[in-house]
Point group: C2
DNA sequence: AACTGGCACTCAATACCCGAGAGTGCCAGA
DNA sequence: TCTGGCACTCTCGGGTATTGAGTGCCAGTT
């Protein structure tokens, strides 16, 4: 591909992203000091359009990039835009005084939304090989017991169940029994061990213990990473002019955790440390055909790993967004590893 | 106040809510079978406008209700609109297979958003007199300890802190020590007891125990009820025409938990079992001057109590919304009490 | 005193036209 | 291969006319 044609494409993308208006040959030669005439640029534009990188909304309007054009831009033309000092400072001071996991995710999503000025999505970190650390049983009344399961990753899950007329000593016995079986094991192993041990119990005890086993299997089968937090929704108001194509579909997608997880998941591959970009129609989720997703994994393979990213109109500032997503993912990842 | 004038106001409110267009005298007499002429209605309208219940956007446009008009409508004119069978069914089957508190709140917010077709807000239930039930300490590594605080209400809070070179026996000792002081007490009492006991400890132990005490005070000072869940945001897309006055401010408010809590809190008084309605300017939060909040408390004074509600444009269907909020609050309240 | 029909008036919304301007495609010539 | 020139297209903005829903007021009727 011609060197100058690439330069033209780059110029069109940057101009269009900045102005939201179709860009014509004349203004292009003026703004960027391309040392050729407008007519030459017109030829290049026509050729770029033939190849599918550009369109124009109507005859005698400037050109706008297609999804394919953005793709080429992102893959080969985008130069890294370093973050501003203020942004770097915001990122590195964002975790001061953080307390629990919820708080970490909340701050991350806020930070990401702030520096990208887009809608941010952060998946809760999920352990690479989560293990059961401890199971605690607490009496909530004469007939009700609260089960608290603590994972090696620090995530805590709770559920209550009925256990008529239990005593404190029975509860303590149950707790020791279940911990000796489950603690230190992976969820699958723990459930296996419990179900085996259940068979060896005295029938009188078995019935009551099986209640606990059922709850445990219930709790451990939900994937704690299958949750996301969303932030920066008000940033959508910047795109009021693209109500139907951007604001509405994004709001709808945000309501469905599953959609978001799939959206991130099909963009970023586990273990890959690069920022993934999905442009317009590359997203499988129908309503988001005119929005882009910029996402990355964060954390490390050995402790906890998850995804984060932003979603916005295809016409977004990819270099800045990519830089911001990378920086935030890096920072949070490092923060998680240090504890 | 004249009987007919009230009827006119009622007719205008219902028509305007349905059509979103200023309603004129002629169409009004046609649609509602008021047995007087349009001129008479015009007189009534002019008088209602003098008294501040109506405005018109410009001369020679129909009338629209003012905040004061809506207020009168809600207080004296609205007839209860019974829920449809489908709605009743949706409400009573919504909790099937529910597991934990998070799930209850999530389902409630979803349900509320669905039946009102507005943005729904549900506060996490908070105990009337919460007590500390149990404190659990779990080693996360040689230098790190996870504190899990379980409240009598079943809410669980976690936080980790550093405790260099601890042993399992030390942890067990600390756990017994803190539980003997805190368990069964209110947060304030528990913290008081711990700080007193701290002074009586051997100086060598005191330093390490004080780390735990600090974490405990940190955890217990956050109010677990100070959290809300939001849903039905896509319903905002119905109000695309009121972008600046409705969509944008609501999106911004939703981002701030504190704003939402204050919004609900100043509408509904604890213990009151009626649906509270805040119309337009009655809300203290500036940007929401042209939206209304319909809220109610749910739960019971003796177990757990919190607020839920919806926010939408002042031009909303108050009778339906009020009925829906009441029904959902009733149902969830009953559900919580039964366990 | 309350209601009605009639009439003049207002004003947003719609449609329409026209000119300006930005942009294109193409072609002949450097 | 690039350039200048030229005819053509189409949007956008402004101005004007028209429409029509709706009001306010008044004189007349019940």
């Amino acid at each position: 591909m011609d060197e100058r044609k690439l330069a033209v494409l780059r110029a069109i993308v940057t101009d269009y992203v900045a102005s939201h208006e179709p860009v014509g040959s004349k203004t292009l030669v003026e703004r960027h000091h391309l040392d050729v005439s407008a007519a030459t640029i017109r030829n290049d534009m026509a050729s770029l359009e033939d190849e599918g990188y550009l369109t124009h909304p109507h005859t005698s309007a400037g050109r706008i990039p297609t999804d394919k054009g953005y793709r080429l831009f992102v893959d080969r033309l985008a130069t890294v835009k370093p973050l501003s000092l203020a942004e770097r400072r915001a990122i590195s001071s964002f975790m001061e005084g953080v307390c629990d996991l919820d708080d970490i995710v909340r701050r991350t999503v806020r930070l990401l939304a702030q520096v990208t000025r887009q809608v941010a999505i952060v998946q809760y970190p999920v352990a690479a090989s989560p293990r059961v650390r401890h199971v605690e049983l607490v009496s909530l009344g004469p007939d009700r017991v609260l089960t608290v399961v603590i994972r090696s990753t620090g995530t805590v899950e709770q559920r209550s169940f009925e256990l008529t007329d239990h005593t404190d000593t029975e509860l303590a016995g149950l707790r020791d029994w279940v911990n000796s079986l489950a603690a230190g094991r992976t969820p699958a192993d723990a459930l296996e061990a419990v179900s085996v041990a259940l068979g060896e119990l005295h029938p009188a005890e078995r019935l009551r213990a099986s209640r606990l086993a059922a709850v445990l299997s219930d709790v451990l089968s939900v994937d704690p990473g299958a949750r996301v937090m969303v932030g920066g929704v008000p940033n959508l108001t910047r795109f009021g002019t693209e109500y139907e194509t951007t604001v509405k579909p994004v709001l709808e997608a945000l309501e469905e955790q599953m959609v978001l997880l799939r959206l991130l998941g099909e963009a970023v591959k586990p273990g890959d440390d690069e920022v993934a970009v999905r442009i317009g129609g590359e997203n499988s989720y129908e309503p988001l055909q005119s929005t882009s997703v910029v996402a990355r994994g964060y954390g490390s393979a050995d402790s906890a790993w998850a995804m984060l990213g932003v979603v916005g109109p295809t016409r977004m500032d990819y270099p800045s967004t990519i830089a911001a997503v990378r920086a935030v993912a890096n920072y949070v990842g490092r923060f998680l590893q240090e504890g």
